[in-house]
């Protein structure tokens, strides 16, 4: 483990200034990714700026009915918060299906969005990885790729985005609040996660020194019956093979509006807009859900070991939507 310096910031502006002025400085929040990445030599900061004391951990109502999750709110605190459980159950469910109780006590919401991929070639300094070392190639494409992505991939990277809660947040149209040396800005969830393309080393449109101060959830009545379904090799404490966050607004027996996010299958938290569009006006039946799911996965590109995800993702979508339909009281579920 390489040595580094440490400083603890007492306020947000100081933290941002400290990181912004030094290209070798990185934020340290929960540490569940950062300390791990430093130890294996993938992250190499000269200095870490500890932001755990900053007053951006609150969960607060927004004017107009939304909810703000502080950038430093811990996963466990967000999952347990009554407003999250009541108004955005898919967010609470996805958080409680992620990691372990200890990690959820440490990991922050901002850090969750910034976590690095779990691709074993990314984490192994001796293997080719365009994300870790641009231009070196992708060892996963012809390697052990059972857990890798089938959507949003390129010939340069097929690493799966590992987050659960980001799948729920993308389905529910969350907005990321950033603060940097040049002030504040907001980024829609759809724009926050970049496809790998030919620059897999660039994962977010976040400038050096910019800090996630919060994540805003919009007022969304249909989210009250939302659901997150996670499918994995073991029942607990494992990354998703496939997952689905879903919400439905019904108009009688027909779907008026659908929100669907997919996890475990894509290089970013995947918003299933094609499936959403197909479902509008359709009955809330397993057959209709299956048609939408099939369309969503039509462009999937399987590799040698992960072709099963295409079928599994469709079944995951159908089951998650069926559960949501039963929660909303509509459909034939």
């Amino acid at each position: 483990m390489r040595p580094f310096a440490y400083t603890r910031a007492a306020d947000v502006d100081t933290a941002i200034a400290e990181v912004a002025r030094d290209s070798g400085s990185e934020y340290l929040a929960g540490g569940t990714t950062e300390v791990d990445m430093i130890r294996i030599g993938v992250a190499r900061p000269r200095r870490v700026v500890d932001i755990n004391d900053l007053p951006i951990a609150a969960i607060e109502d927004l004017p107009g009915g939304g909810l703000r999750l502080g950038g430093l709110a811990r996963m466990s605190d967000v999952a347990a918060h009554p407003a999250v459980r009541e108004r955005y159950p898919a967010v609470a469910e996805s958080l409680e299906k992620g990691a372990s109780a200890q990690l959820r006590n440490m990991a922050t919401m901002g850090g969750n969005l910034m976590q690095r991929v779990r691709c074993s070639y990314f984490r192994d300094g001796d293997r080719a990885c365009n994300k870790r070392e641009p231009g070196s190639g992708c060892a996963a494409i012809h390697g052990v790729n059972r857990t890798h992505a089938v959507l949003g991939t390129s010939e340069h990277c097929i690493a799966t985005h590992p987050s659960d809660v980001a799948v729920a947040l993308t389905a529910l149209d969350a907005v990321v609040r950033l603060r940097g040396p040049d002030g504040e800005r907001t980024v829609a969830f759809d724009d926050f996660f970049l496809l790998p393309g030919d620059t897999p080393d660039r994962e977010h449109p976040v400038g050096h020194g910019e800090l996630i101060t919060g994540i805003d959830l919009p007022d969304l009545p249909m989210a009250r019956t939302s659901h997150y379904l996670k499918v994995r090799d073991r029942e607990s404490y494992e990354f998703a093979l496939t997952s689905c966050a879903a919400a439905l607004r019904m108009d009688g027996d027909a779907v008026a509006e659908a929100r669907i996010g997919l996890g475990g299958v894509a290089t970013r938290p995947w918003r299933a807009r094609r499936a959403e569009d197909i479902l509008i006006g359709a009955p809330a039946t397993a057959e209709a859900f299956a048609r939408a799911a099939e369309a969503e996965m039509a462009d999937a590109v399987p590799r040698s070991m992960n072709g099963f995800k295409i079928e599994l993702a469709q079944r995951t979508m159908v089951r998650a939507l069926t559960t949501v339909a039963s929660r909303t009281g509509g459909g034939a579920a």
Binding site: P3, A5, L28, V48, N52, Q102, N105, M106
Partner: protein
């Protein structure tokens, strides 16, 4: 990793005001060795470590607090579980320097003298271990679990203890120990 130092080199120091126990508000610490004041099991102690040293290594290698175990050292096994400010966390992914001004509790801090914590007694009574390596982490998680209130049934206990692996597979006995403490606490509350 940093060189191993034998024995207990952390020393007890008198309590000092809060502002002196926090990290310096201005200026960097390290990358060389820095003095860190840690409150471990109620005692404020000084230890000299580089900022890269984990809380786990500071406890085990520098302060002689050896109940937290180094299983995976990457946040997967839970053997290093301790409480920081009353919450269960992984000491292998926590920097010692970041714990200045915070309360660290390990298994050594559970018992009241020779009087074991109810969870320790329950683990002994139910034989909730075989080799014992994961047991300190299991205990710290189980004690936190009681506070968190996720002890409704075996499935819930299993889910909320899933961050603590036991290669001897003592899981049924661990769950029984948690149930015993849960039921004992409930009976105590009814009296």
């Amino acid at each position: 990793m940093t060189p191993r130092e034998p024995g207990r080199t952390g020393t007890a120091v008198p309590a000092v005001p809060r502002q002196a126990t926090g990290a310096e508000e201005h200026g960097d610490l390290g990358p060389g060795p820095v003095d860190v004041l840690l409150t471990v099991n109620g005692t404020l102690r000084r230890v000299t470590v580089e900022p890269r040293v984990s809380l786990l290594d500071a406890l085990r290698e520098r302060m002689g607090v050896t109940s937290p175990k180094k299983g995976c050292n990457q946040g997967a096994c839970g053997a290093c579980t301790v409480h920081v400010d009353g919450r269960r966390v992984l000491s292998c992914l926590t920097l010692a320097v970041s714990c200045q001004g915070r309360e660290v509790t390990t298994v050594e801090g559970l018992a009241d003298g020779d009087d074991l914590h109810p969870m320790q007694r329950a683990f002994a009574e139910e034989d909730a271990f075989q080799c014992g390596y994961c047991t300190p982490g299991q205990l710290m998680s189980a004690v936190a679990l009681m506070e968190e209130g996720h002890t409704g049934d075996d499935a819930e206990i299993a889910e909320w203890m899933s961050g603590n692996l036991c290669r001897c597979a003592a899981y049924p006995n661990i769950r029984q120990a948690v149930r015993n403490v849960r039921d004992g606490a409930a009976a105590e509350g009814e009296r």
